[in-house]
Amino acid sequence: MATTITRPKTLIGKAIRRREDPRLITGTATYVEDIKMPGMHYAVVVRSPHAAAKIRSIDTSKAAARPGVVAIFTGQDVSKVGPVPCGASLPGLRVPNHTILATDRVYYAGHPVAVVVATDRYIAADAADDVEVDWEVLKAVADPLKALEPGAPAVHPQWPDNKAFDFHQEHGDIDKAFAEADVIVKQRILSQRLIPTPMETRGVVAEWRAADRALNLYSSTQIPHLLRSMVAQMLGLEENRLRVVAPEVGGGFGCKLNVYAEEALMGFVAMKINKPVKWIETRRENYLTTIHGRGHVDDYELSAKRDGTITGIKLRIIQDLGAYHQLLTPAIPTLSVLMMPGLYKTQNIFADIVGVFTNCVPTDAYRGAGRPEATHGIERMVDILAAELKMDPAEIRLKNFVQPNEFPFPTATGLIYDSGDYAAPLKKALDIAEYEKLRREQSESRKQGRLMGIGMSAYGEICAFGPSPATPAGGWESATVKIEPSGKVTVLTGTSPHGQGEETTFAQIAADELGVDIDDVLVVHGDTALVQYGIGTFGSRATAVGGTAVYFALQDLKAKIKKFGAMLLNSDDVTLANGQCIDNKTGASKSVQEIAAASYRAMQLPPNTEPGMVSTHFWEPPNFTFPFGAHLVVTEVDRDTGAVKVVRYIAVDDCGNILNPLIVTGQVHGGVAQGIGQALYEQAVYDEAGQLITGELMDYAVPKAHMLPWIESDHTVTPTPVNPLGVKGVGEAGTIGCSPAVVNSVVDALSPLGVKHIDMPMTPEKIWKLIRSAQ
C-alpha cells in the first residue's frame, strides 16, 4: 500500500537542511574533549600488551614519583566498584566477572590494568609508561573456531570449552522440509569482525562536587540515562546524585550503546581525588578496547522445491564474543536468528548459536547489530539457490516474498511483520536499472571476456526497538514538550541523537503540530538533569519511538492550548490550525504564543486545568517496525588485478513515511558506505597470539569518499500501523541491504569462472586468486 499521509502546509516530508550542521562543520560544537574545568586533571589508562597473561605484580613507584602525578589506581584499589554490566540474559549464560581494572589476569590486548592521574595529559602518559607490570604470558586464542577445538587455551580458566552459551530456536517441521526437498543448498558464510570507527573516539569527564555529594559525568554515549542508572549502581552512588551529559557525540554506530569500564573508572577517580578528571580515548585505544561488530561464522542450509519455493532454513551461528560480555554482547546473534527468514514466507526454521569466548575485545552492537549478518546470510543463500536452480535472482525473491495481503504476518521466528509490499522496491530497483537491458549488456560484455556482475538484495530489518518486553531495559521512549511563556517551544527527548538529525526532524514534527515557525523550536537531549528518563538512540528507534513520544506529548499540549484558547475566546467551539486557536463561530483567534503566555500568567484558568504549558509523554510501542527495501549493484572486476569497481549502486528503501528526505538519504548513504566497507575493505585482524594487527587507520581500511560509488537512492512508502507517524526507521537500512547485494554482484561477475561464493572483505588479492585458480 504505497500511500503517503499528506497534510496542508506541512514541514513533514520537506528536505530541510539539518539545523545541527552549522556548528558541526564550523568546528564549534562541544564534544567531551572540548570541556575544560578549573583544576581539571587527566587520566591515562595502562593497558595490557598481551592477549592473555597473569599479573605477577604491578610496580607503580617509579610512575608515582614523577612530578605532577596525583594518583595511580590498580585493580585492587577499585575492587569495591561493581562489574561492567551485561544487560542481556540467555538461559545458562556464563558471565565472567568483568571488573573495571584487571586484578590478577588479563584477557585481551588492551585490557585496562591501572589508571594514572596527573595534572596534565603529557605527564600522565609519561607516568603510564613508567608503570611496570610483571607478566606471566599465557597462550591466547583469537579465532572462535580454534577456541572451540579440544585443547584450545581457555580464555576463562573456569570454562575450558570456551563456550559462553548455547542457544536454540526452531519452528515448523524442519526435518520434513528437508526430507521432502527437491534441492538443498549449503554454504558457510562469514561476517568478519569490524571496527565501528566513529570519528569521535570515546571520552569521559567526571566532576565530583563533594559539597553537594553529586557526580557529573560527561561521556560520549548513545544512552545517557541508562548509563546513569548503571554507573550509579557500579559506584554505589544514589542515582539522583549522578548526572550524565552526552554533549556533542561524534558518531556511535552502536559502539557507544554501552557501559564501559572507563566511565565508572573516571567517576571513581574524580570522587577519590576530589577534582575533575578527563580521559580521552586515543584511536589506538578505540581500536583495541571499544567493542567490535559482527564476528560470525554461519553455516546455512536451505531446502526448496524445484520451482524455487523455499521450504526451510537451517542456521548454525558461531559468534565470536571476545573475552567479556559488554552490555548486549550475547544478545546480538539472537537478533540474527529473529531476522533469519528475511522477507520470505517459510515457516520451517532451525537455528543454533554457540557463543564463543576469545582473547579479543568483545563484540557488540554495530550498525545493524545481528540483522546485517542474517540478511547477508539469507540473501547470499537465495542467490546460491537461484544459481542451483538456474533461476533469475529477482524471480526467486518475488516468488518467496510475504505478500501485501498477508500482513500482519507472523514469522517463523516469532515476529509479527507490520506492513509491507516487498515486491515494490525490488521492482522499482529493477526498473531504475533497466534490468533486462542490463542483463543483455552483461552477456555482451562476457563475450568480450569482461567480468561484469549484477547483484541484488531484498532486505528486511527489525527497527524501532522496541516493545519493552522484548528489550533488556525497556523499549519505550519519552518526550516533554514545553511552550515557554514567550511562546518558544522546547522539546526534550529521551533519545540521544549523535548524528541522526533529530534536532531537525523533531522540530519539524513540533512546528507542524503546533503551527509555529521551526526556528521557534529547540530540541534538547542528552542531559539527565534536563531531560526526563529516556532510553536512547540505537536500533533505528529514535524517530519511530522517540518521535512518536514527541507526537503524543504534542497532542496533549494541543488539547490544553485549545482549552486555554476557548477560555480566552469565550467560546466552546475552537479549532487549532496554523498556530492559531480560532473560534469557529466568530472567527476570532488567539495565537499559540498568546495562549502560552496566558497559561503562565494564569489570571484565569480553564476548569480542572493547571497553569503552564508542559506535557510529558512516555510512549510504549506495540510492536517493532519492519522496514524493507532492495539494493541492486552493478560491478566490474578487473581480470588482471582482481579489483572490484562498483559501477552502479541503486538503493530503494521503504522506511514508511519520510519526515525529511534529505536526512533519510543521508542515512542511506552512510549506511551503504559502511556496507561497502564490510563487503570490500574492512576486517579486524588478530594474529594467533591475539594481537590486533589492524590496530590503526593505516591498516584498517575505512572507505573514503573516493572509494565509494554514486548512490542512486529512491524509495517506496509503506507506512507502518505501529505508530501514528507511520515511520519505520532508516538508520541501519543502508548497511543491512548493502553487503549481500555487493557480494552477489561480484559472485555473479565471476560465475562464468565457476565461482559460487566469496567471503568478505572481497579484497583484490582474494578475487585474483579465485580468477587464477579458475584458469
Binding site: P49, H50, A109, D129, R284, Y287, L288, D687, A689, Q691, L692, I693, T694, G695, E696, M698, D699
Partner: protein, 142 residues
Amino acid sequence: MKISGSQRLPFPPDQSYALMQDPEALARAIPGCESLEQTGENEYRMKMKMALAAFSGAFEGKVRISEQQPPSSFRLDVEGSGKIGFVKGGGVLKLEPSETETVVNYDGDVQVGGTIAAVGQRLIEGAAKSMIQRFFEKLAAS
C-alpha cells in the same frame, strides 16, 4: 609470523658455530645491542636499542640458546620488551658446510605485541630480515 632464509658466514662450520655461541661476538653482532650479560648457562640478559627510520625504542630482554648440536644446529630464542611493546623471536639455525664457508639456514617465528604490532605490521617482516642480514654481516666481519 614465520620467517626463514639463509645467510653465509666466511668460516668453516665449527668456527661459525662457536662464534654464534660467544656472548661477546653476539653482543657485537646483534643490531642495537647495548649490553649482553650472562645470567645462567646459555642464558643472557640483553639491553638493546632498536631504530628503524623514525621508530626507536629501548628494549630489555633475554637471549637463550638451546638444543645445541655442534657444529650443525642450535635453537636461538630472543625476547625483549619496552614501552612500545614487545618482540619475541625464536628458531632453529642449521649450519651446513659450503666449501670453506658455512651456510646458515634459519627457520623460526617472530611475534610482536603492543604498539609496534598495530602500526608496524607491514614493516616487521622487512625489518626482521634486514636485522638478520646485519647480524650476519657483523658476525662475518668479526
